[in-house]
Subunit: 153 residues, 2 copies
DNA sequence: ATCTTTTCGTTTCATGTCAAAGTGTTTTTT
DNA sequence: AAAAAACACTTTGACATGAAACGAAAAGAT
């Protein structure tokens, strides 16, 4: 029998919460993936969604919003452009920047898909009461803001 | 101004909880990644960890535990084998199966790394009280088990 | 003005990821 | 036992992912 690391009780509690958090995130993600199948990847949808929600952004701003590396975004944007869903334009005031915006096709695609994805997420979270959802959100937020300054609300 | 999808309040609540869950999971994952950097990928560590914890398993069993596809596992196991951390052996009672076990080097590696990863996770979850960690775990568990039978404890 | 540093994005490299099709093995049918 | 179905894993193809090195543009230093 393999001997496990002898953890403190604080460690055991944290690891237990950790794996449950990870599994929940992965399970929900995989279910949400359903409506997108054959249409877009999850990341592609995320990029279109953020553009739809906030309007044109630079590549770096998008990377920050969707929590992906810059190098990664380059490829995702290239694929979206190839498929005619976004367009790029050099920022005239800063020649290093690309301004990314949705094309008409991109807007149409994200508009059609968003309700389906939202419905899938809502169905997933229907296992929790409204109060539980709020509590979960609160705990996740508190968890995530480690190392941040207190300037955020 | 882009017009957002007009969601019901249940939808808004669910989406809000959803993005907080995802961001928390991603943030924690990226911080946990630190101790592994240059040593192993997160998935590789996950595979070694499950083998360390439960002993030798078939490829399919590992895939199930770490929530990855079979095709994916093939590659991850190949890389781990190349690095001398695991060994494969045909199951004599079922010629389709591979039995995967840790090598001495694999055991050593995971033993050295596990405490560091556990400490990183513990530090991350220290932002929450013990009761909050338990609550978060409970909510995640409840969220994840949608569509499951009630046979599980 | 020139040099240096910083910043934005791209490229490269190694790995991970899934879906779908394929290969060989075992089990089930008939 | 031969055929069919189910199963465990592999292969392939397209895409995602991060780190690190790189190129170009902007900002700062002198």
């Amino acid at each position: 029998m393999p001997t496990a690391h002898q953890g403190s009780s604080a460690e055991v509690a944290a690891l237990d919460a950790y794996i449950k958090l990870m599994r929940a995130a992965e399970t929900v993600t995989s279910r949400v993936h359903g409506p997108l199948l054959g249409e877009l990847t999850v990341t592609q949808f995320g990029v279109l969604e953020v553009l739809h929600h906030r309007g044109a952004l630079s590549a770096g701003e998008i990377a920050e919003k969707v929590l992906k590396s810059a190098g990664n975004l380059t490829l995702v944007l290239a694929n979206l452009e190839r498929d005619g869903l976004i367009s790029r334009e050099r920022d005239r005031s800063d020649g290093r920047r690309w301004i990314i915006s949705l094309t008409a096709a991109g807007r149409k695609r994200v508009s059609a898909l968003f309700p389906k994805v939202a419905a899938a997420i809502t169905a997933e979270f229907a296992h929790l009461s409204r109060a539980e959802q709020a509590m979960l959100g609160e705990l996740c937020k508190k968890l995530g803001r480690g190392g941040r300054s207190t300037s955020e609300a």
